[in-house]
Symmetry: C3
Subunit: 208 residues, 3 copies
């Protein structure tokens, strides 16, 4: 297990479910069929971790080894597909859940890289990739410019959390691992919710 506390395992499952749902909802304006919806939900939930595992050479990738992720995503996407026909989705609840997923995936991605001995800069990159690349692939598949490049602070929240987590892991004794993870997650979630609430954005790039 990545951490000594099963709490983070449950958060990982929670993040997987939430990201699968956001994938399904992103697909809703594109007239995708049931299979398309399942695929888009799946890449959103496991895409970031898959790219992380590929570039680090951790193959077979995580969901080939632990197929629980697949079953959870299939169940979640089919249930969302059906439920969405009967009542509207609680948009606000989803945004908060998505922020939690972002925080969990970011910390897990950074932890994976550190555990196999990679330097801090790679751990930060893997944290950010695990947190946001699922959403990037989702947007490419549905023919959009990836939202995270254009909207309020999103990947930046992941980057700040990953930097904090990697520094705490680097300087604090190893017994502090779990508390470092929780603090870093809280930072990602707090930044993301603050960005939504006050509509914070990074400067947009325009040629002079």
């Amino acid at each position: 297990m990545l951490f000594n506390i099963p709490f983070i395992f449950y958060l990982d499952i929670f993040g997987t479910i939430v990201f699968a749902i956001t994938g399904v909802l992103a697909a809703s304006e594109k007239r995708l069929d049931l299979f398309g919806v399942v695929v888009v939900g799946m890449v959103t939930a496991i895409g970031g971790g898959t790219i992380r595992d590929l570039v680090l050479g951790r193959t077979p990738v995580f969901w080939v080894i632990e197929t629980l992720y697949i079953w959870i995503i299939v169940g979640t996407t089919v249930a969302t597909f059906i439920a969405a026909r009967f009542h509207p989705f609680p948009h606000r609840t989803l945004q908060v859940s998505d922020a939690i997923g972002l925080g969990v995936f970011t910390v897990i991605g950074a932890q994976v890289a550190l555990n196999i001995g990679h330097p801090p800069v790679i751990a930060v990159m893997m944290g950010v990739m695990t947190g946001v690349f699922g959403g990037v692939i989702r947007d490419v598949l549905t023919d959009e410019i990836p939202m995270i490049f254009q909207k309020e602070i999103y990947a930046t929240a992941a980057m700040v959390g990953a930097v904090v987590f990697v520094n705490m892991r680097w300087y604090l004794p190893s017994g502090m691992e779990s508390i470092s993870a929780l603090i870093a997650m809280a930072i990602v979630i707090g930044l993301r919710l603050a960005a939504i609430y006050w509509n914070l954005q990074l400067p947009v790039f325009l040629l002079s």
Copy 2:
């Protein structure tokens, strides 16, 4: 060799040629140059198997080890590029050929995963990925929402065939491998052709 019968090897080559041609034709409305056409034909033909090999950790991927695939695709795409200038393509023949390619690639993908000991759910996923992801990358490169997410039953035919094949491999004695492969291929091809003939579609996802 994956199976004891060379018949399936010839079908694999056939599927590679057919998928390369569909890639070239998909490129035709996009004003791509000769190189672009070769690349799109190549990713359509080898894209699914490449992603399968990457996530399973079977590297170098299959076409690096067996370069015959590359030569066949280059020859096919250049010949199609030239031939398409002189006479129209037999659309109906291509659809049937594409269905055969889908059946072959799906069974090969599932067989690869089972042969190295992965569980049934992974074998089904690898079958579907090998069958359809080449077309998904083709559509992303030509700036379309992947067709398989929107059109008549396509990936679903691959999934049903993969499930049948994996179950037959799981419950039948190992001598039945080749016959299982042929039955599963026939199911994929039959479903796909029935979907084209009667215009069968999965329900489309729309928010209520």
Copy 3:
């Protein structure tokens, strides 16, 4: 080191910087924020080499092992992001620099494949992929049909250079490695600049 001459290492760094800048400029019309610009610059600079390493099974990929690339790209993209607000970019200088980057990356990609014993056809493919696939991913992320499929001779220049390089490596004694690399680079750069100057294009594919 890939070659005996440090000259090529400096060219590699130069190519990384130039490609990161072209990524930033490609992002300029898309209203991406600072993070989006850094990501697009990064995939443009390291995307081709990353896909090459993945399909060859050279994992962890090159920039996980040598993090210098990451730092150079982050510095380059942030500097470009800031500088572009104050004065226009020298378009002509960038095109020449981009041609140099293409030549360097192509030769490095082919050399990597030959060094680990792959056959000539794979070395040519890896050369072309290393040279052009960063730009392909850049265009997919910014929702464009990849430019290299549509514009003047680009990937074709890389292919010609890669074929020349692989043949020289194959037939000439091993002491001629560095001179072969320089000749092949000169061919790529010369072809590319000639294509820009005289607006040379490959025939476009249209169905009759």
